[in-house]
Symmetry: C2
Subunit: 271 residues, 2 copies
């Protein structure tokens, strides 16, 4: 197929997922991937030992809004061909987190030295895709305007348990005018693979959020008097759940350093 020949010639399409991954693999791009390869799907990463993989897979299937699985690997295989033929999960993210028994042991830029033959990769959709669709429709995404991280909150919404995996849903919040909130429901409904429609609008206390100004992850953003806080299921949920389980070994992406894929956001629209 064309990708490997393009790579040999050193000419992947500019701004493509592949060119982003090659830049990261070569050490030419460091840090966050937001804004990289516009139009291409980026994903959250969780790599678990095979012994835990069936339960985690079932957890994702039972909780598709916070854990929309967009790609998985065969055990021990660092490739995820569905998401990019040339993709090597060990080298193609700009930074990783390596965990042992729930303790953070390293934050390397490459996990080849940590690789094991029993590791299974799970790639989970990320809100970058639907944020792009919102902005394309003229809707302001506050944390992007403010240049900070999206505010995220642990909620009182329980996930569906699978084996050892359980815990509260984490949500991200974007303040929107009522008119934009309605439009945002319509737009994000089209993208069930990247968290889909909001899970809540307007009454944070109903989902166990005590102080909207104090997110559990990310940064607080201002909410206007003419705006409602709109909440989406968040890909931090599986990370939070994995942290609770404290698996003997686990690799995740470093926050903001997502996997850039060859799939287009538009491919994931159901309408």
């Amino acid at each position: 197929m064309a990708l490997s020949s393009m790579r040999k010639e050193g000419k992947p399409p500019a701004d493509s997922g592949l060119s982003a991954r090659l830049a990261i693999r070569a050490g030419a791009h460091r840090g966050a991937t937001s804004g990289l390869a516009p139009g291409y799907v980026q994903g959250n990463l969780a790599i678990l030992p095979q012994a835990l993989a069936p339960d985690f897979l079932r957890f994702c299937q039972l909780n598709p809004k916070p854990c929309p699985l967009i790609g998985t690997s065969a055990p021990g295989d660092p490739r995820v061909p569905d998401l990019g033929e040339d993709l090597d999960i060990r080298t193609d993210l700009s930074r990783y987190r390596v965990w042992k028994n729930g303790e953070l042991v390293a934050e390397p830029e490459d996990v080849r030295e940590f690789w094991r033959d029993d590791l299974v990769s799970f790639v989970i959709g990320c809100s970058f895709s639907f944020e792009e669709a919102l902005m394309a429709d003229g809707i302001e995404v506050r944390h992007i305007t403010r240049g900070c991280n999206v505010p995220m909150y642990r909620t009182s919404i329980a996930t569906q348990k699978a084996g050892p995996f359980h815990g509260p849903m984490v949500v991200s919040m974007r303040p929107l005018t009522p008119r934009d909130a309605i439009r945002a429901v319509q737009i994000t409904t089209r993208f069930p693979s990247v968290h889909g429609a909001p899970v809540h609008i307007g009454k944070p206390e109903m989902i166990g959020i005590k102080d909207i100004a104090k997110p559990d992850y990310g940064d607080a953003v201002d909410i206007g008097n003419d705006e409602l806080p709109v909440f989406w299921a968040c890909g931090v949920t599986p990370q939070s759940v994995i942290a609770t389980v404290k698996p003997e070994f686990c690799i995740t992406h470093y926050p903001g350093s997502m996997l850039v894929t060859d799939r287009k956001n538009t491919e994931f629209a159901i309408l």
Copy 2:
């Protein structure tokens, strides 16, 4: 076609739009049409002299959310075959209102004696269709549970002017939990011909509603602490606009006495 032969034999399908209209025409059904012929589209009616018809048609086209036109007649023709082959607009509603120069002059059960050769009928979609879809999804529709009329409000949202027709949008309100509000946006988006998605959620003061407990039309309903008021563009808007214009002659349906058509609600779903 089959309808007239069925009628000759006196056997229209039970609970069909046709059987409802025949019952009304025969005087066997009186009063409100809510709950009649489940699954069939009901419509708001406005009948205007031909001189005003082009402007009113344009008004509807410019304001599709409050004025979703689902059928029109030829001038002087009491039939609207698109909505029912056997339909006679002069006899098939259970009650009408007749207006002269903006004054209500009669509320007859039949308008044959008022008919003129220059009259054009406009049938406008009604919220009964989307309420049926909401309830089919398990969503409680408060005013139906309470057995009262839907609360309606004049807003500060202006309609697009066309000739003499202009004025504020009227909205209807249904209190919903945030979860049901999100689902209701999805469901009603499928039905643009019957008002479509909400126009506002959550902050009545933003659309000029001073006291949610005092609707301008219909009845107040209770709103729980765990609920948001959700607002849809309302088919009372064209009636309110026509009342402002005070046309020399005009016929509308009596509130609650809608035109029952042969079209199915499901036909109007875009997805």
